[in-house]
Symmetry: C2
Subunit: 336 residues, 2 copies
C-alpha cells in the first residue's frame, strides 16, 4: 500500500518535492473518525509519547515526593529547545533528587533552538546533557527510579524497572502488544515501542478523555495535560508549533511532535486523539500535516503557525509548503 501525498513543496509553478504519509484520528474506543493511508503499520512514536512516558513519574508519587510541580512535569513531557531556562529547570530537578548531570544518559547535542545554540557558542560553553531536548524526561525517569528504590544506574536500559514500567503503561493504555519485536532504541538511549497509528490515535483519545482508564490514571493524565497547557513553553519552545498551539488553545488541543515525521495530539472536547507519520520522516511535512488537521478542527488555530513559505535568503517568497489535494479532501470529509 502506497500512502497518499499529504504535503507538497512548490517552486515557481512546479511541485518540487512531496511527502507521503498516514493519519489516524480515533475515539477512545478505537473507532476511527478518519484514516488516511496505512494506519495498521507499526510506527515508532518517538518523543510524541513523552507525556505517557512521564505517567509513572506522577503515578508512583515520585513527582510529589521530589516537589515537582506543573513546570517540572511539563518539562518532562517536552522536547525542549535547550534554552538557559529549560536546561536550568532540568538542573534544578536533578538537584532536588540529589543527582547530577552525569547521572543522565540522554547524551549531548547542541540546543535545538538556534538562538540557544548560538548563545552557548558565543560564550564558548559546550552543551551538556541538560541541553538535550529529552533532559526533562530523563530526570523524571531517574527520580522515579530513586523513589521506587530502584538503581539509578542503567535506568535507560530496556530491562530496567523504569523502562519496563513505561512499556507496561503504554501497553495498557494503547492495548497494543509492545514486545521485543517492536522495540527500538531512541536517540536519547531509552527504548521506544512501535505500534500502529490506529492504536496510537486511540491512546491519545484516552489520554484526552480518560475513558476506559482507572480513576487514578485518569487523574494523573489530567494533571500531566494541565501541566503542559500551563507551561507550553517548556514542552517545546518559542515559535514552535506545540508551544504556539497549546498556548492559544489550552484545554482544547494537546500537541506533541516526535522525530522522523511523527505527530500526535488530543482533542478532549471532541473526545478524539490523532497520530500521523510522514513516510520520509521530515519535520516540515509532519508539522504541516498536524497544523492542517488542527486548523480543520479548530478554526481559531488558523494563521497561528503558517505551513511555511519557500523563501530565498533575502526572504523573498518563491514557493510554498502546502497541503496536498489528498489531505485537503480527507480533512474536508471529516465529520466532527
Amino acid at each position: 500500500m502506497v500512502n497518499p501525498i499529504l504535503i507538497e513543496a512548490t517552486r515557481g509553478s512546479l511541485v518540487e518535492s512531496w511527502h507521503r504519509g498516514a493519519i489516524a484520528i480515533a475515539a477512545p474506543s478505537g473507532a476511527l473518525a478518519l484514516q488516511i493511508g496505512d494506519v495498521e503499520r507499526s510506527v515508532f512514536p518517538r518523543s510524541a509519547v513523552k507525556a505517557l512516558q512521564t505517567l509513572p513519574l506522577v503515578e508512583t508519587g515520585a513527582a510529589d515526593h521530589f516537589g515537582y510541580g506543573s513546570a517540572e512535569i511539563a518539562l518532562a513531557c517536552g522536547s525542549h529547545t535547550g534554552t538557559e531556562k529549560q536546561a536550568g529547570l532540568a538542573a534544578a530537578m536533578l538537584v532536588r533528587a540529589g543527582l547530577c548531570t552525569d547521572d543522565l544518559h540522554c547524551g549531548v547535542h547542541a540546543p535545538l533552538g538556534t538562538a540557544a545554540a548560538a548563545a552557548l557558542a558565543r560564550e564558548g560553553v559546550a552543551p551538556t546533557q541538560l541541553h538535550n531536548n529529552c533532559s526533562g524526561k530523563h530526570v523524571g525517569m531517574l527520580a522515579t527510579a530513586l523513589h521506587m528504590s530502584e538503581p539509578t544506574s542503567g535506568y535507560w536500559q530496556p530491562d530496567h524497572p523504569v523502562q519496563e514500567r513505561i512499556r507496561r503503561t503504554l501497553e495498557e493504555i494503547s492495548g497494543a502488544p509492545l514486545g521485543a519485536d517492536v522495540q527500538g532504541i531512541d536517540g536519547c538511549s531509552v527504548p521506544n515501542w512501535a505500534m500502529p497509528l490506529s492504536r496510537l490515535a486511540r491512546t491519545f483519545a484516552r489520554l484526552a478523555t480518560g475513558e476506559g482508564l482507572a480513576p487514578e490514571r485518569r487523574q494523573a493524565l489530567g494533571r500531566i495535560l494541565a501541566a503542559c497547557w500551563e507551561h507550553p513553553e517548556l514542552v517545546a519552545g518559542r515559535g514552535r508549533a506545540d508551544t504556539v498551539v497549546m498556548r492559544a488553545l489550552p484545554g482544547q488541543v494537546f500537541l506533541k511532535t516526535g522525530a522522523e515525521g511523527v505527530y500526535c495530539g488530543a482533542f478532549p472536547e471532541l473526545g478524539l486523539g490523532f497520530a500521523l507519520k510522514i513516510d520520509d520522516g521530515t519535520k516540515r511535512a509532519a508539522a504541516g500535516t498536524a497544523i492542517a488537521l488542527v486548523e480543520r478542527l479548530y478554526p481559531a488555530a488558523r494563521g497561528l503557525m503558517p505551513l511555511g513559505a519557500v523563501k530565498t535568503w533575502w526572504g523573498v517568497e518563491v514557493g510554498a509548503i502546502r497541503s496536498a489535494p489528498a489531505l485537503d479532501a480527507a480533512l474536508a470529509s471529516l465529520k466532527v
Copy 2:
C-alpha cells in the same frame, strides 16, 4: 506513477522511514543506461548544475581576464562549507574584479559546516554573503557581467544577460526547452530551470565527454572538471561526499549535490552521466543513493562515504540508512 523506494532508515528490526525517488543514467546521445522511476518529470537541478552555470565565466574569457585559476573556478562550481578559507577565496575573487561583498545578492546564511558556523559564533562574528554556499558562483556571475560590459546590479534577475546566457547554455547542452514555464527562483535568488532527469543525465554525460559539443565548449568544460578534481575541497568541504569522492577518484567521478534531494554526476571513462531526485527532498536519501550508484560503478569508492548509521547521542548504532531492495536490484541489473 509512484517512484520506487530507494533508501530506508531502520530502527531495531523495523523500517522506520523510507525515501522514494527516480534515477536516470544516460549516454551523451540521451540513450538511457538505467532508469528508475519517472525520469520524464521536470526537476529543478538546483546547485547540481553549478559547473554548467559557471561555463560562461570560462567561455566569455572573464575567468582569464580576472586571473581566476583552477581554485577560483572550483569555488564557483561549489556549494561550499563556508570555512574561512572558502569565504576568503570568494572575497579575493571579488577584490580582483574591483567589487565588494555588497555587490553580491546570494543572501546570508550561517556556514553549512557546523565547525565553520561554530567558529564564527565563538568569535561573535555574523556570517556574511561570502559564507553563503553559493558565493563563489555569484562572484563568477558578477565577474562575467563586468567582463561583458553588462551592469553588475541585478545580475541575479532572470532577464539579466548573465542569467539569460546561463539559460541558453543549459538549453544548448541539455536539449531541453527551458522557458518561463519551468523557471523557479533558487534560494540564492538566481533562476533555476527544471528539466527531466533523462535530459539532466544526458547533460552530465556531455559534460563528462564533450560529445556533441563545439571544441571550445568541450575545452571549457574540461577545464572546469579539471579544476573541481584539483580542488575538491572547494566544491563542498571536509567530510562531504562530493569532496571525498572526487578526491579519491579524480578524472573518474564528477559529483555534485543540489538542494531538495538532487544529485548529479558524470563518469568520463564510462561515457555516462547521471541525475537523481528524491521525491521528498531529503539530503540523506539523495547522498545515500548517489553513493550506492558510485560504489556500483567504481568499487574503489566503497567505504569512502558510509551511507550512515542511525545512532544515539552516545554514538551507539541503533539502526541504519541503507539502500532499499528496488535500488539494489536496479543497480545489480546495470550493464556497464
